[in-house]
Symmetry: C2
Subunit: 757 residues, 2 copies
Amino acid sequence: MTWKLTKQNLDNPSLLVDESLLSLGNGYLGVRGNFEEGYTDSFQSIRGTYINAFHDITDISYGEKLHGFPETQQKLLNVIDGQTIEIYLDDDRFSLFEGEVIDFNRHLHLDAGFLDRIIHWKSPSGKEAYIQFRRFTSFVTRELFAIDVKIEPISHVDQVRIVSYVNGGVSNFVDKDDPRVASGHAKRLNIIDVKKDNDYSLVKNITYKSELEVACVTSTKIEAKQYTYDSQTTNSHVEEVYVVDGRNPIRFTKYNVYTDTLRHGQALFEQAVEIQDNIKEKNFDQLLTVQKQYLNDFWQTSDIEIDGDEQLQQGIRFNIFHLIQSAGKDAVSNIAAKGLSGEGYEGHYFWDTEIYMLPFFLMTNPEMARSLLLHRYSLLDSAKERAREVGHTQGALFPWRTITGGESSAFFPAGTAQYHISADIAYSYIQYYLVTKDDVFLQEYMAELLFETARLWIDTGHMKDDQFRIDDVTGPDEYTCIVNNNYYTNAMAKNNLLWAAKAFQIYSEKNKESLDVLVNKIGLSEQEVKEWKDAGERMYLPYDETYQISAQDDSFLSKKLWDLENTPKDKFPLLLNYHPLTLYRYQVCKQADTVLAHFLLEDQQDFQTIKNSYDYYEKLTTHDSSLSYCVYSIMASKLGYDDKAYRYFNETARLDIDNTHGNTKDGLHMANMGGTWLALVYGFAGLRVKDTGLSLFPALPNEWNSLKFHLKYQGSLLSVKMSQNGVTYTLLEGEELTISHRGKSIHLELGQDVKIA
Amino acid sequence: MTWKLTKQNLDNPSLLVDESLLSLGNGYLGVRGNFEEGYTDSFQSIRGTYINAFHDITDISYGEKLHGFPETQQKLLNVIDGQTIEIYLDDDRFSLFEGEVIDFNRHLHLDAGFLDRIIHWKSPSGKEAYIQFRRFTSFVTRELFAIDVKIEPISHVDQVRIVSYVNGGVSNFVDKDDPRVASGHAKRLNIIDVKKDNDYSLVKNITYKSELEVACVTSTKIEAKQYTYDSQTTNSHVEEVYVVDGRNPIRFTKYNVYTDTLRHGQALFEQAVEIQDNIKEKNFDQLLTVQKQYLNDFWQTSDIEIDGDEQLQQGIRFNIFHLIQSAGKDAVSNIAAKGLSGEGYEGHYFWDTEIYMLPFFLMTNPEMARSLLLHRYSLLDSAKERAREVGHTQGALFPWRTITGGESSAFFPAGTAQYHISADIAYSYIQYYLVTKDDVFLQEYMAELLFETARLWIDTGHMKDDQFRIDDVTGPDEYTCIVNNNYYTNAMAKNNLLWAAKAFQIYSEKNKESLDVLVNKIGLSEQEVKEWKDAGERMYLPYDETYQISAQDDSFLSKKLWDLENTPKDKFPLLLNYHPLTLYRYQVCKQADTVLAHFLLEDQQDFQTIKNSYDYYEKLTTHDSSLSYCVYSIMASKLGYDDKAYRYFNETARLDIDNTHGNTKDGLHMANMGGTWLALVYGFAGLRVKDTGLSLFPALPNEWNSLKFHLKYQGSLLSVKMSQNGVTYTLLEGEELTISHRGKSIHLELGQDVKIA
């Protein structure tokens, strides 16, 4: 059961959640787990098909608009619907909300990458059949979303009628009762072409403003003894009708191929038809085999095996599966906060990628990590523009939320003010370099990105009393906004600045000529590099003598303490129940802030300060953000709080499966999914990658027999197995490798197990 | 020339400004100085008639809406147009933008309260006439807006045709090119009745959402040898047409009477007709005589005479005139930031009233001050509600901008966060009490208002290290928002808290029984009163040892210094050219903040600290707000910076007349107008009213021969004349009075001049 997720819900709130849980995706295309045949009228469903980064531009309204507020926002669009298939047993339309559902199961197959739905149904008038749906979005042919249906009548049925649609008349989700999704901007696509052409149904849409186009070209196949076929084209959709003899089993297959102008040039239909032609040779089962092979390869190095808890084993596999489903793997896309599983956060990319999800890819699929980093690099110019808009004379200010680079945050205190995202991106580049030692990457991308973000910090902060200080920014904790010297921000900026100077040094040593070209291009002076180093070294990291902790910011510790214990449960999350000013006035945290900095940059403080800080901030943290538990789990591991590490980990592993945040219907919490992996590998296994190399500090939870995973590091592939008796390291690829285990150096050679008790 | 403002402009930018400058009002009704006959199509004019507090409710859009953000906003409406009168000389329509304008003058008569327009015009075809318009909004019959036109053809004209309109098809101003006024919400009135009934044209409108109604009932009269009359009614307006023999002078008069459901019950037409009937006995000149008498009485005690500078004399009279024109004098209205002269700030009431305008009324027309305070008292319940919305468990949080009590600010960092408005209102009550010693007022209104605002501070702040601290509020300086321990806020809250305790004491001594009723009503405990006193006494007022100044807030002085000297002129006001985060990061002030606290509560600091602070903050202040100069002038007077006092005063006196802020077209800067008076009386004359009584510290600018004004104080009327030789005090009403002059006690008796060299 740990390789699949089974669902049997038919009630509405559960089905909405299942739509997200059972969503399929491949980083390009995503389809929610909707029923092909639809729902009854009163049923709420978010029927969605998404293409990563495929968006329109909408206006932002402000009651009062100040200088530098973004005027528009990007919005991921629900595109052409290829899901819909209606089935009639004689005159009875198949629906799970009528007649009798004798048996009903859905399985998301994490190992094989498909979703099935197995039904035994009797219609109101007594027509009975077994019906099985299977669907997948292909990792190998990313444009493909295929559905296979088997219908086996078991009562007398004269005719089975199958009606399949490709529908361009789509909108984004609107909920009149929820102001967050009732704001309009739902309909953002015009239909520009609908036709039937030989074997294909073809539909093309264009967005209102961004002028992006998307096409869906669909082919259908039937295996049946006897049938008639007809089709019909309207303004908005193509409809295909198969009428089949009901006395024998029937198999119907639908291949939807999606192309868009972000990736496929202008000839979208032609491109899609070409793809259709390429897959024509294989049937559904063969295509599914290719899918399984892909996932088999993936799991070989990406799986984490927990022996001792099937629930958690299922949780981590489910989360890893959705990570690979969500990650953009091309030059125009990244990982949205909800992946491709829903419309929450409008398909925007946040710091979630760099801080919570990238490490998984970096340590298991570094080429995917590289693709994500290159996508950020492609936004560097717009980040420089954004810095100018806000008033900076130099540097790059990355937008808090975006798709193609424009700031899409409409509330700057918890948006644009989160300057740390620029240092977070820099951090992810540095981590990539530490793991891969890829000097070409450093020269081609990393140096410039580090230089421009370092420039931002110089322009934002200032030297006072021999300390470099950064005023009026917001840290990760959105319950305290616009503060001076946020510990997290300053710590990350320090790292950014010092590494910018270091990258300059490395670059200079490796390839002075190429560096000179860059220096010339961005008008860099050696004086600036000195300033970065100086500012980095003198960066002020607030410390409180009384508590002997890192202070979250200059004033946090002087505020009132929020009485979390006596806050009624229905007042959480606090942000939905208190005005921001009230929240700002208290020592109360939405999520890990200083504690996160202590994880990412643990060498900036001594152990005791980190421990004291954890003890202090833990009491004030609501974990109202799903980005919090994993950090608290990792740091509990580091500090020897094993029970806490385990308890917090438990909150992450099944957060969506168990819908503990109550909003999984709007999409999966991707950062938390990355966080589950972090809690296992950085937490229980104590992984760190630094200048000094790769180190582990394993501590297996008592509850488990073993924990096993793989790491890729500088071209090597390493297997790590933690059991109650000890740890076994095996170098599976690469000649040899020296790592650190609990502070001691270990030498590994290809194929040899090294066991440590 | 100091009793009138003359204008001869015919170009568009100037005429738009003149519309505000030459606006007429009486606190109830306001009419912009538009041309009766209209403009050419390409001309931009803000044609406006406003009734104080007559508003609709509009939705506020947020890109991201957080808990406690107001969902709606109130908006002052442009109501039924009674201004329009077209004149035709034979077939030539009179327009100042065609033909030849041989002579053209407009005069706003500050002494008599009317506007005239005197024209000698020749039409394109050579028809020539003298035309004179006069108009006033009556202070005595507040519903009345009357226009009188004399037409004297001086070439051959067969017929003069006069077409007079009452038009309900009105909207608020929209400027496509200015996002601040292009946001829609322009059309907010439906026409519900248009008719001609005997002598009257009647039009009635209703707002879209607030369901307020407004009516205009108009009568017209003509004095001419021979004429024909006709009228016509459409869906939106009534049109009256007089065709008159053109060989003799003609006089046409129009009486518009406005009633509204905020004041006149439901029978608006009947009420308006009754008012028409009441004024019927008097002709235009007689009504104007009544107006003159009213203003004569007003100026008797409200005028300030400056001997030595006609420009400034005109400026202060102009400003005082607009103060009396703008001030609401009934239970439902106050003074809008732009008075009734334009649509800027949507007719909202701010702290401007209490801190900048009320002192003028308090010291010259205390009954009007009382009316303004009672209007605020009527909003106390909604301020309590607002406090709950934001998250407070007790107290009253007055909205930053409002008409009927709902928070109408859509940007909380510079809106709701300005908690000081609650202490500002409390301050004005305390000042009223100090000037009037009105114990009935204390018992009926002031005590409750002080108690509820004191409760807010207790709930907002907290005790730490034996100091009472207030976190996360915004002071008057909007270039630094959401700060801890803003000096101004803490100082005003201290005063609020201590006076709440004091008012409890006084009330208890004067009328224990009545106090008990109040205590019971609001559930007050004696413990709370102790807490107020304690918090007030321990209030933390930030002080910087290095500079020996009051610190604007906990972190202001640690920020970067803005380089004002090298900021290009076109970057002012800064708020239109920099993102708020950039502004927040610097030591730069939009307006007086700490310096204002040092004016209002000068006894909280020693002289040297006040002087040091002034010197420090002056260098950082842009005066981008029009509320700044007057405070800097007053404090310069106090500190002996006579040149500066004079120079800053000069910036206030003619700010609108000379349009120095460039936006007078949107309405007059009422707070600055009050500030002009403050700079004269609190600045040059050094007036203060405290527990210890009334004191003056006169210092006449060298540039003037004398300065003369009146003060009302505890039932007495005092004349003060400052000349270069000394000061003369004369008690004009009241038996005797002891005041302080430059720190020395002076005893005054009725009718006797006391001269001090």
